[in-house]
Each structure stands twice: as C-alpha cells, then as structure tokens.
Amino acid sequence: MKVAIKLFGAFRDHEPSGQVTLEIADGARVADLRQALAAFAAAHWPRFRPGLLEYSAFASETAVLRETEPVPANGHVAILPPVSGG
C-alpha cells in the first residue's frame, strides 16, 4: 500500500514539500512504517540525524499511533517530531 506521510517541524528542512510517499506491505504496522521512513531518510536526506526519528511519533488526524497498531487503511499519517508549542 502507498502511505503519504505529512512532515512537520524539523522534518520539513529535509523535504520542503512537507510530504513523502512510501510503499509498504499491506497490513504493515506503525513500527514497519518507521523502519521504512528511516531507510528513506538515510537514502535521501544527507543532513538527517536518525535521532530525530527515534523521538518522533506517527499520528493520524485524531490520535498518536502506537508502534503495534496497523498503519491506517486510508494511507494518511503524519510524523511528529518533539513538540514545542506555546
């Protein structure tokens, strides 16, 4: 399945479009998507520090996703670096 990942905060520095689309196996879990994004980042973002992804969470439009959850069937997620609002 195709998964469109919206990028926020420091992730945008590596992808000004603010989005990447990855192909992952049907039925993949959030942890699998994390691995896929790590691989994409290593291949495409020369200045990317892997630590950022470790401290980032995947989310839908209504909730932060746990690692063991399946990737949402609509193929839309966001990757949220540590938050700093206010």
Binding site: K6, G9, E54, Y55, T62, L65, L80, V83, G85, G86
Partner: protein, 161 residues
C-alpha cells in the same frame, strides 16, 4: 452550548484576541477568570530573536485541544468554561502565540484549570516552533517527544520549555 472554544488562528488572518477569550469563559455564575497569554519575546537562550514560525498539524491539534478541554472539564466538575487559542504562521516580536482562559465559580479553580490547559497544550499539541535570529539563522526548538505517552496528555510543570 459546549463549555469550551478552541481556535487555531493563522497570523496572516489576524492575531489572537484575549478579549474574545475572556468573553467566552465569562458566566453569571463564575467569579474567577484566569487568562494566559504567550507572546513572542526578543531573546531566547541568550540569542536575539526576530520572530517565530509556528508549524502545526491542525486537525490533530484541534482534536487534542478538545480532548484537553473535556478532561479539564471533567476534573473540575463541568463548572468551568475554557478557551484555547494558538497561532500558526510567522509571528513577529510581541505577537500572541497562545491565549488560554478558564472561567470558574472561584479563583483557585480558575488558576489551576488555566495552568493545566497551558501545560497540556505545550506538552502534547502537535505544534513546532522555529525561532528566527537577527543573524538570519533559524532553529527548531527542542521539544517534548510524543513517543511512548500517546495516552498521557498531562504534561509536567517542571518541563523546560
């Protein structure tokens, strides 16, 4: 009418309005209103700041604001009205980044409810702050990781940001 109002305001469409927040949380039965305003200041960690860009995942932020308000409402027995407003976009010095207000029958609850909302928004809302400095440099602020506490939105008053 719901006892809370949540707003995301794109700065290009005008700033947040503390007066609207005070008005929303007012009630004939409420004697205490506490309001917090977060403003862009001219220095951070010793660097001269010229502005801050706020990036935000708006649908999740709005969803989270509503959850925060509902939980605080439960904690205070529904005797509370809340306003949660946050700006997005490129803010200049003095612009309002955040406006939170709580109205309750008595002042202690108002202060505590307002503070609780502010901390929850700061520590759990999908919002990212990029500071711009006078030398043209800019940097994303250090923040709170949302990993591993997806179900906890309380935040901690002792956090550094």
């Amino acid at each position: 009418m719901r006892p809370y109002q949540c707003i995301v305001r794109d700065i290009s469409e005008g700033g947040l309005d503390p007066g609207a927040a005070l008005e929303f949380v007012s009630d004939p039965g409420f004697g205490g209103i506490a309001l917090f305003v977060g403003r862009v200041r001219n220095v951070n960690h010793g660097r001269v700041v010229t502005g801050i860009s706020y990036d935000m995942f708006v649908p999740l932020a709005m969803h989270g604001f509503a959850e925060i308000a509902e939980r605080v409402g439960r904690d205070f027995g529904q005797q509370v009205k809340l306003y949660i407003g946050h700006a997005k976009g490129r803010l200049g010095l003095g612009d309002l980044a955040m406006v939170v207000a709580a109205g309750t029958p008595h002042r202690d609850e108002a202060f505590r409810a307002c503070r609780q909302v502010v901390e929850a928004v700061k520590h759990t809302s999908p919002i990212w702050k990029q500071e711009h400095y006078e030398d043209g440099d800019s940097a994303w602020s250090e923040g709170c990781s949302l990993c591993g506490h997806a179900s906890s939105e309380d935040g901690h008053a002792g956090h550094g940001h």
